[in-house]
Subunit: 146 residues, 2 copies
Amino acid sequence: MKAEWKKQFNRFNKRMTPCRQAIIDIFEEKRKHLSAEEVYILLRKKRRKVGMATVYRNLDLLSQMGLLHRLNFGDGKEHYEMARISPAKHHHHLVCTRCGKAVDYSELVGEEHEFLNRLEKKLGDKYDFSIQSHQIYFYGLCKDCR
Amino acid sequence: MKAEWKKQFNRFNKRMTPCRQAIIDIFEEKRKHLSAEEVYILLRKKRRKVGMATVYRNLDLLSQMGLLHRLNFGDGKEHYEMARISPAKHHHHLVCTRCGKAVDYSELVGEEHEFLNRLEKKLGDKYDFSIQSHQIYFYGLCKDCR
DNA sequence: CTAACTGCAAATCGTTTGCGAGCAA
DNA sequence: TTGCTCGCAAACGATTTGCAGTTAG
């Protein structure tokens, strides 16, 4: 798995560094979406000396490499999560428009997958886009905010 | 139609002002997603003296009132568009991850609508959310950026 | 009349950039 | 060696806020 990533880094003319490894580890451990600041705090908890700038640079790089997905819940900051290729792990988000809380869901992803694939193909052809990913957001009010 | 909005404003204890009317007009005329700055520029073109702060405040208010939808294309700024209740006008977005260009599409919205309604109900029940809207984003590279 | 609204300028805050020093290959 | 990476501090840019004057209902 690590060799796999190394290859990916090479392909992008980038290097595998302790800092990057640590960031990847954090996403593997937490298995949820994290903001840049949350990643930064988790790194420091592991007694790792890093600057915010580096965190941002690496989250950006990992996103461009396709290892992370960038999410936006409308709370003014970007969030990131492991990009999982497997449909089984595929999921989307339910966002509370008041408190910003975001819940993952993976209901009906089977049907969704089939439907979105068809749509993706159609759109890609029509608008001359090479589509790489998609996100579905449902917005509403959570129990506590209602 | 204007009476309709007035009611909405009353319900929120807000007032219909020339500035707000002008902003609504702009979205009706342009019929596409606009950033706060774009709205600001269009207002000034109409020789309307407004501050950016007011634009932001009103875009925010109109979003909370459900008159506008807030969109995020990952280019660092928020975009807004008229919320159209009619399924006929319903659409989503195709975003280029390189240049940030966003294209509207409305393919297969009929099928989508049926599917998403079902999903919405299921999710609302399971996670105790009162879902108000949804957005689908497809990400990829446009013709020019490929 | 009075609470909501406004423009202005200053403040905020997430994110980016410039730079010299430090590593990976 | 070479050039990708790093931490730091400063810069940036979109959005927010405080405030005193203005306006809708």
